[in-house]
């Protein structure tokens, strides 16, 4: 009875592209720090990937620090640039950013009901001792997109650096990092492998490493390089640069949104501009139950950030928008990708309507 699985959770992770898998399988082995021929071959593979990532980001290869992924990138940027001083952030940030801020003096910016962050509020929050502003390029739960250039300009006026978690934005919308001092990206959100990512760090900036004990990454990230991961990451960035599915994904998202809003009592959370993201709530239908109901019909979605799913604490992002805890628990996040088809959207919309009806009946009983 169950048809093929429909994956609508691309903000959690994306499927590895066959080209990436092939590139990883063909990657050489060796320790890039070794002086001999095997090492040189490995070094060349790492540097080739670094050039791909740099080209994709529009930066210099030396501005790319390979990491183990988004969480490490956020931690390295925030701890390494703030160095114990004051930081400005928002309550909408990913847990990786929140975690990295623990122990620092942080001012959290106010947030509008649709997830807006005002540049004037940022200006007002900056202090003479503010070292860093960290705000996501695109929100992981809502799909809101933020004006990095304007944020960065205000931060710089006050003498602070500007870091952005661009994990959800990279490969999905054009990313202009010229004004930005540091940016985190992750390979597995753009059809690369998990366990690898990069921190863009503007040339000339000094950063305190999280991991020490080796000379890798210009003393900024010790540890033998994850060679197959880095090679796959480079290939994923190359593919993301030369082709984009954003228009098609945006069209499908609009279709899904239209269909879901036909369900009585449905609403959109936030102001999604990221092409594939749609966070919705259905009155009287617990989001976790809807998610499970969809899963049992072969449709994979999430209730929020994968990092916080499994616990019933309502999403802090939605609470920051002013939703009640009960309304926040109704949230379901659909996130589309380049493999999503029109048929997927038809079926997802149809099944969601059924599942929501069933969950509402169960909750009303």
């Amino acid at each position: 009875m169950q048809r093929g699985r429909i994956y609508l959770d691309h903000n959690a992770t994306t499927p590895l592209r066959p080209e990436v898998r092939a590139a990883m399988a063909a990657a050489p082995w060796g320790n890039p720090s070794s002086v001999h021929a095997v090492g040189r071959q490995a070094r060349e593979a790492v540097e080739r990937s670094r050039r791909e990532v740099a080209t994709f980001l529009g930066c210099l290869p030396e501005e790319v620090i390979f990491t183990s992924g988004g969480t490490e990138g956020d931690n390295l940027a925030i701890r390494g640039l703030a160095r114990g001083r004051h930081v400005v952030s928002s309550p909408l940030e990913h847990p990786a950013v929140k975690g990295a801020l623990v122990g620092l003096a942080v001012t959290y910016l106010p947030v509008g009901p649709r997830g807006e962050i005002a540049v004037d509020d940022l200006r007002a929050a900056l202090r003479p001792d503010t070292a860093l502003v960290t705000l996501a390029a695109a929100n992981h739960e809502l799909g809101n997109v933020y004006p990095l250039e304007a944020f960065a300009a205000v931060a710089h006026q006050a003498g602070a650096l500007f870091h952005t978690d661009a994990v959800q934005a990279a490969g999905r919308i054009p990313l202009d990092l010229r004004a930005v001092d540091a940016a985190t990206i992750s390979a597995h959100k753009l059809h690369g492998p998990p366990g690898v990512g990069a921190l863009y760090l503007r040339r000339g900036l000094d950063i305190e490493p999280l991991m020490t004990g080796g000379h890798q990454e210009r003393e900024r990230r010790a540890g033998t390089e994850n060679l197959p991961g880095i090679v796959g990451f480079g290939e994923a960035c190359r593919l993301a640069r030369i082709e984009t599915a954003a228009d098609r994904i945006g069209y499908l998202r609009a279709q899904l949104q239209r269909r879901l809003m036909d369900i009585p009592g449905a609403r959109v959370h936030g102001d999604p501009q990221l092409p594939g993201t749609l966070n919705v709530g259905f009155d009287g239908a617990d989001g976790q139950l809807v998610m499970v109901g969809l899963d049992l019909e072969g449709i994979c979605v999430s209730t929020g950030s994968a990092c916080t799913s499994g616990s019933l604490s309502p999403s802090p992002v939605l609470l920051a928008l002013g939703l009640t805890a009960a309304a926040a628990r109704q949230a379901v996040r659909f996130s589309l990708g380049r493999d999503t088809t029109e048929e997927d959207i038809d079926r997802a919309a149809e099944v969601t309507a059924q599942v929501v009806g069933r969950v509402r009946a169960a909750e009303a009983a």
Partner: protein, 351 residues
């Protein structure tokens, strides 16, 4: 047929799920996350069907091959069960959190979850039977858990099945081994699930559940000692009393003054018990004849019950060692649970 199986991570509910899966049902497993414990090995157990270990449940579901989810009821459990447990002790009573959990917490969200995913029924690993709408004792009397289930609302019980009710513990262990379940040799634990180390006093004291300190008195009212809080005591208990003369037992606890009244074993004897907040699964029998069970592993004693506005009075054929206020008293007729309630504080004194 889709069946939702509540899985604690213990061998019983895991086997129930595996048996239903083997019988060809579309099994979906769910584990309630009830409190934030630091997960350890086998000892995270409970007398009833506590969340021993979410990971064990997940591993069983993966090994057998059906989907498994975790339902977070931490908040509701904290409010409905743990807070009640603490408040009862503070009031000098002896609560039964497993009954409370079944009554207030477990079955409501699980049945709702079952309905929400289109499951025809909810199965649990309890040892009890449901036949023709009656809640009956399990075939395996040693494992029988019907005592714990009297508080479940009848309309919820109507959605439930207990696949282990006809089996013996040995059958269940054998089936678990046949299925190669990861937890087939996990020991049973007797501890309350949210106090895995068994240290009730420390748990209560950390949560404001400590009772008053006060005197320990004998049957004449003469003080024979002092104590560090009424929550150290339960009616019927011997431990922690001063060794003076004959064997002494706690007979009554007065939470207002902190007085612990003691006496010889005979002083525990009760001909009647007052039971309040009674739930009926069946109409009370016209002749009032039931067997009253006041402990999970205790005997069921023949009695005649009479109902009044403020509760039920049970008059026993032969005097019993009276239960502690706050404990559940469950009325059985033949094999079936008729109803049950909570032993009232004013039971003491009715000799």
């Amino acid at each position: 047929m889709r069946i939702l199986v509540a899985m604690s991570g213990g061998v019983d509910s895991s086997t129930a799920a595996a048996l239903l899966h083997e019988a060809g049902h579309d099994v979906v497993g769910v584990t309630l996350k009830l409190f934030n414990a630091q997960g350890t090995a086998a000892s995270q157990g409970g007398r009833c069907c506590s969340p021993r270990d979410i990971e064990d449940a997940r591993a069983t579901a993966a090994a057998v091959g059906f989907p498994h989810y975790v339902l977070d009821e931490t908040e509701a459990f904290s409010r409905g069960v743990i807070d009640d447990f603490v408040a009862e002790y503070r009031a000098g009573r002896t609560p039964n959190p497993c009954v409370r959990c079944n009554e207030r917490l477990k079955f409501g969200p699980l049945v709702r979850f079952a309905r929400a995913i289109g499951a025809a029924t909810l199965a649990t690993g309890h040892y009890a039977r449901l036949e023709g709408g009656r809640l009956l004792r399990a075939v395996d009397r040693e494992k029988d858990q019907s005592y714990f289930l009297f508080g479940v609302r009848p309309e919820l019980l109507a959605q439930v099945r207990f696949p282990l009710g006809d089996l013996c513990k040995d059958d269940v262990r054998a089936a678990a081994r046949r299925f190669h379940l990861p937890n087939c040799d996990k020991p049973d634990s007797q501890e309350i699930c949210f106090i895995p180390d068994g240290d009730h006093r420390a748990f209560l004291e950390a949560r404001g559940g400590a009772g008053r300190t006060g005197p320990i008195v004998d049957e004449t009212g003469a003080q024979i000692g002092a104590h560090l809080g009424t929550h150290h005591f339960t009616v019927g208990q011997r431990r922690g009393l001063p060794a003076v003369g004959d064997r002494r037992f706690v007979v009554r606890i007065d939470p207002a003054t902190g007085t612990v009244h003691t006496g010889p074993r005979e002083a525990l004897a009760r001909q009647r018990l007052k039971v309040t907040d009674v739930r009926w699964l069946e109409a009370p029998p016209a002749d009032g004849r039931v067997d009253v069970q006041i402990r999970h592993h205790g005997a069921a004693n023949p009695a005649v019950i009479t109902c009044a506005d403020d509760g039920v009075t049970a008059v026993f054929d032969r005097a019993i060692d009276g239960g502690a206020p706050g404990q559940a008293a469950v009325f059985f007729r033949d094999e079936g649970v008729v109803g049950g309630g909570w032993i009232a504080p004013d039971s003491s004194g009715c000799l």
